[in-house]
Symmetry: C3
Subunit: 337 residues, 3 copies
């Protein structure tokens, strides 16, 4: 994407010092500028970089007075940080909105209901009775099983697979390769043989949820696996059948939550955390990276370790453990006495 | 999917008390019933729920005598639990069988041999000399490389990728996004450079195996990576090159098994377990969640920890570790004396 | 694929003892031979297997003198090990080169520039202004967003998804289902609500990089997430936004690296390792399986544990920890005295 400085100046209400026809193609850090890059100067600590930046242009505060020659064009605004943030937002909205229309290479069941102003890319498969809301963006290779519902403004990136009967709310983003609604891992063991327990529930994802790439959220055995509104889930996360993730909670990459566990509101699970099945995790629980949660937790506290215990207790134990060699020596010497 | 109570009654040989034309759309728990839901009452502990359930109908035993008014229709059968299980099975079979026929939007090599009564969805890619068995279901966006074999009654969900030369048995289910037969992670390090070791083996998956979503099973360097019959593998599991997983074993989500390890029969690996390479794990080994197996194990026992040791030993160590602060105090006091 | 022994003999300059028209379909181990398999004998320890192998033919050294009857054909060469390696290489090159041409079922933007001698499979989606180098192989269901660049000789296996603006170098291999360039997990928490931070950077993958199946490499918030040349990344690995992986480093399966961490050259991270964000890891750092790196590391050393410490120190602590029950006893007895 290319903009002239004149176009940028219009978006952020800036005055230009330099060539208004100069072209910028992307944004960059002031200390790592390059030809075609647009940067900004907000933090005074970074001021010295502007005298040697290789960026094509920099957004600066109205009252910035250079101490020496500046090698790039300047866009003067009231507040350079806000102007830059506004520009980023404008840019990402534009990217998002650049796709529109339904590809002739998509395969859409006649019984499906497609909203207005929708993008459906090539090789998308839309099953019977699917409902897609207004302004939704469905990228290539997405597969929506029968009776799936996708809300307004929701973005499904390339290769997302949603099994039959699942529901995704409004304003959600699901990244490439994520699978929603595969069968829960439910088997009855009889005489050393596994018998599959049919998984006939679904997944319900509420509004304003973002899910990363190649994650998995399994359908419920019966009823629904529920991801409540404002939840953020990172790449390669596993959410098992009948789990419920409370409003505004976040799971970093590679977290795994076992079947039927209920997670409260505003919890944060750091990377690679594992949570056992059938637990109840209270609101505002924080679990540090790689910890293993094996019991229900009351909420409002931070945990660490495997099994996870209150973080300060575990940190003390880590320090004591490191001193074990000394302790063994001490005890040996005591014994000799 | 919608059924009248009359239809349900026919499937499970029930007598109806209530409106035979009432419609149920799904099943539900008795304590979380809703309009259009069908539930069942088997456990006497749950009897009190039936007097306030919001389900449309409940399957009950023939001899059930209500103590007060029941708000939903009743379907009376010999054994309510078995009737419900039968219904679930019927439903899941019906779901499975609802798809049939080969899409015109699939791309199938002329040399491929397709069995009878097969479903092949749109945008499926089938390579040269592929063999697909009778009653197989191949969902949209599946890619089968050259010479792949898929057995009878096997279901490959959307986006499954099977590399050339790999073999999947009869009655298997592979969930969306799973990759079978990618190159093993084999490199020869020479003078700080990696040289790729060609991975020319394949993957063999025997009968009645289920594999979750977004899992990876790598092809062997030479010979075969083998998943024996009745194995169940959950989402996001990694099975490296030349691994063998014995009959009836199960790996929960996010387990990783390194190259050339042989896992025995009827083993159970809980979530996020890691297993080092070139090990032999005996039959009926159980490994608790997040454990790290660094040595071969004889089988018939449960393990915990990293490195994994017998579970009772590790549990004792966890308790002792928690008492470390006390122990340090004790020793300090002893020293003072 | 099928070869006669005569064809094999020509490739590796061998003399044939046995039926030159016998057909081999694959290679096999000498101790696990089968009809149609070609094996080799290099290590004298394995010589006894050749008298009972079920392989169709074996490559042996020129000077091999059987002590008794050999049941398979022999291909005599100068150095059997090198001949076999050459054959493997020939075979894998042939496999790689067997695909060529652009499918009519691919969807390629008119503005895309496609190199010479390229393979583009069916149902591939190529966005605006994409550049694909000479001899590249793009398998079915790959999706390349707008402005993506793919270098010469690079192989993208089935279902790889590359988001807009990302760059893949020459001679790379990316395995099925891997996602390059999904949004980094960046949210600003305000009053208990998450606001998405636009992720407008990209991913740059340099030359000769191999990435396994179903891995994720997120785009930078701003600037680039960089995978330097000769890096090898295994299946299901998570590389977060703004991470840099140094030249010649390797990450085994299910490793997770958090945002903005810089990994040096020639580092090795074993399976399921987790690395916290904003760290600097020095060159030639080795981290053992399942370890958790929570601090920056100087390089040139091996680490173990969570938090990861020098491997010898952690190994000692593991031994001391195992002796805790004895230590508690000792201290109790001391107290009694």
């Amino acid at each position: 994407m290319e903009f002239t400085l004149a176009q940028i100046a219009e978006i952020i209400s800036a005055s230009i010092e330099g060539d208004a026809n100069a072209i910028v193609k992307t944004v960059c850090k002031i200390e790592a500028g390059f030809e075609g890059g647009l940067t900004f100067l907000a933090n005074p600590k970074y001021t010295h970089y502007i005298y040697e930046t290789k960026a094509t242009a920099a957004i600066v505060n109205k009252d910035f007075v250079p101490e020496k020659n500046v090698p790039c064009a300047l866009l003067r605004v009231e507040n350079s940080y806000f102007a830059f943030a506004k520009l980023l937002d404008f840019y990402s909205q534009m990217m998002k909105n650049s796709k529109v229309g339904v590809s002739k290479m998509a395969c859409i069941a006649e019984s499906a209901k497609i909203g207005e102003n929708v993008y459906i890319g090539e090789f998308v498969s839309v099953g019977e009775n699917v409902v897609i809301g207004d302004n939704a963006k469905i990228y290539p290779h997405v597969c929506l099983g029968d009776n799936v519902k996708v809300g307004n403004n929701t973005v499904l990136n390339s290769g997302v697979k949603i099994y039959a009967e699942c529901v995704v709310g409004n304003d959600c983003i699901i990244h490439a390769g994520t699978v929603i609604g595969a069968d829960g891992f439910g088997f009855a063991a009889q005489d050393g043989e596994f018998t599959k327990v049919p998984q006939i529930g679904n997944v319900v994802i509420e509004d304003n949820v973002e899910i990363g790439a190649n994650a998995c959220i399994d359908r419920a055995t019966m009823g629904s696996t529920i991801i409540h509104k404002n939840v953020k889930i990172d790449n390669l996360v596993q959410i098992a059948h009948n789990v419920e993730v409370g409003e505004g909670s976040a799971c970093a990459a590679q977290v795994g939550v076992s079947g039927s566990t209920k997670i409260g509101k505003h919890c944060i699970f750091a990377g690679q955390v594992g949570v056992a099945g059938h637990l109840t995790i209270g609101d505002q629980t924080i679990v540090a990276a790689q910890s293993g949660v094996s019991h229900s937790l009351p909420g409002g506290q931070a945990y660490l370790g495997n099994p996870a215990i209150p973080i300060n207790q575990e940190r003390r134990l880590i320090i004591y453990r490191k001193k074990l060699p000394e302790l063994f020596k001490q005890v040996d010497e005591l014994e000799k006495k």
